[in-house]
Amino acid sequence: MAVVAVFVFLLLRMTAGDPAAIIAGDNATARDVADIREKLGLNQPIAQQFVIWIGRILRGDFGESFFFKRTVADLIAARLEPTLALATCTLVLAVLIAVPLGVTAAYKRGSWIDRFVMGLSVLGFSVPAFVIGYALMYTFAIHLAWLPVQGYQRLADGLGGFIQRLILPSFTLAIIYVALIARITRASVLEVLGADHVRTARAKGLAELPVLLRHALRNASVPIVTVIGFGVAVLIGGVVVTESVFAIPGLGRLTVDAVLARDYPTVQAVVLLFSAAYVMINLLVDLTYTLLDPRIRY
């Protein structure tokens, strides 16, 4: 995490365009630019800037956005809900679709459902999220007019609108994730199905469903959970794109806007936040291993 912090900071300061010049605008004199630079602390040595910055981060103060003229913490708080809603929705949706698909594919190896899952996984990796997004938007929102085209409604403003507007973006994002999880589920369950204990379970006359769920899926769950954790990186990348396609005012959009405006404090905070979330989720994943597989101890 510390490496990430140093890296994110240096990255954004090293060769960057001059934010002071951008804030000052086209008609500013050199003096105006220098004043702004002074105010933002951009003229201090880079190491000093870093120490100040990291100290503030640890106190939860992400500084003030150069561009939006609000504190970054405020800005993030305002944009957090849509992103969180979208990510959670996608995650739940993807797991609910992918795991049964993967198990079925492994169980009926070589059948049409197996080939469908494998085809879907290749397709899911190849078609970018925004293409899927536009395809879904065209079919369900514009052509069939079942769902709203774009936008976001806060949960507080009504559950119906909230869900309606989340369906398309979540499905869009979920497809890539489903591809990833289903493929691993299939491979992992397939491996376990060949194991001795599964044969024993069948031999003692257990029905197929308990065999699949209790004996196969449970033992196959560690790689599946791992890929769900790794997939969060894909999810975060997808959030940025999907929010732009569906005009959702979340953190992903904020990132793009901040990059376009060269608003370092915001970019730094968002990248750091996303990376922290990613690392945390993978830590959680590591911890669930002990629940899933008693042999693993830390």
Binding site: M1, V3, V4, F7, V8, L11, L12, M14, T15, A16, G17, V122, L123, F125, S126, V127, P128, A129, F130, V131, Y134, A135, M137, Y138, I142, V149, A187, E191, V232, A233, V234, I236, G237, V240, V241, S244, T255, V256, V259, L260, R262, V267, V271, F274, S275, Y278, V279
Partner: protein, 309 residues
Amino acid sequence: MNGARLEAVGVAMPAARPAGRSWRLPRNRSVWIGATLFSLVVAIAVLAPYLGTTDPSAIDPVARNKRPGAERVIRHDDGRRSIATYRMGTDSLGRDVYSRVVYGSRVSLIVGISVALISVAIGLVIGLASGYIRWLDGIVMRVMDGLMSIPAILLAIALVSLSRGTGLRTVIVAIVIPEVPRVVRLVRAVVLTVREEPYVEAARALGAPTLTVLARHVLPNTVAPLVVQGTFVCAAAILVEAILSFLGVGIPPETPTWGNIMAEGRALFRIFPHNILFPSIFLAAMVLAVNMLGDGLRDLLDPRVRKQI
């Protein structure tokens, strides 16, 4: 020369590649489909000026937002007339989408291939060094872990924002950096297993310098996995470039790239979906082709994996 000496001493060199391996190539369907589609795109990119395209950046205010198949009469200066068809319509500035899509394949190819080559080259050097030189390993891997904990697209977006001018080179660098750690890990894993092999130990016992051992005995083992990884990197790079351009942080909008065409068509998507439709078909087909090529190559080069999956 060194190899000859080792053989003279009686150290068995790794056996030559079995001749049968290359014969398996025609039987692998996904390599064939992938390679065919990929060469088709290469052909389109190379032959772009001869495929009935016009200047992809030419703006024509009269012919804005034409639907695909719309025709237009062009009056030449000498009084002749000819009819031009907008095969894929025009965008809101009147640029011919067909020409832009065709020329856009060039950018995608350049980005995909150069990112694959550069990141494999950098990753190979770092990976070899960190896998073979113990004290370097810890430091390098911590830095790589740090890099990998930032999601790739986010890192690329942040990197693009650094540079003063956005352009092809910036975008390539921004996509290379997140890909390098993945290559490094792969190479390092190969090196760690190979360095314990008897033939490497034998070479070292005979006093072969580190560089020679790396180049002659370790490097050849990394070729197969790197070819496979390279194709996947290429596919990922094409996707990321399109995403960056689509978000408006990639290659400047006047350059025809698939992402840029889609970004341009975004505003009027509800009325004129063709601006997004055609580039996305090309993009998806291209990435699919490269991914299939990679999948097929992996099966070919590593028979163990084929049995498992």
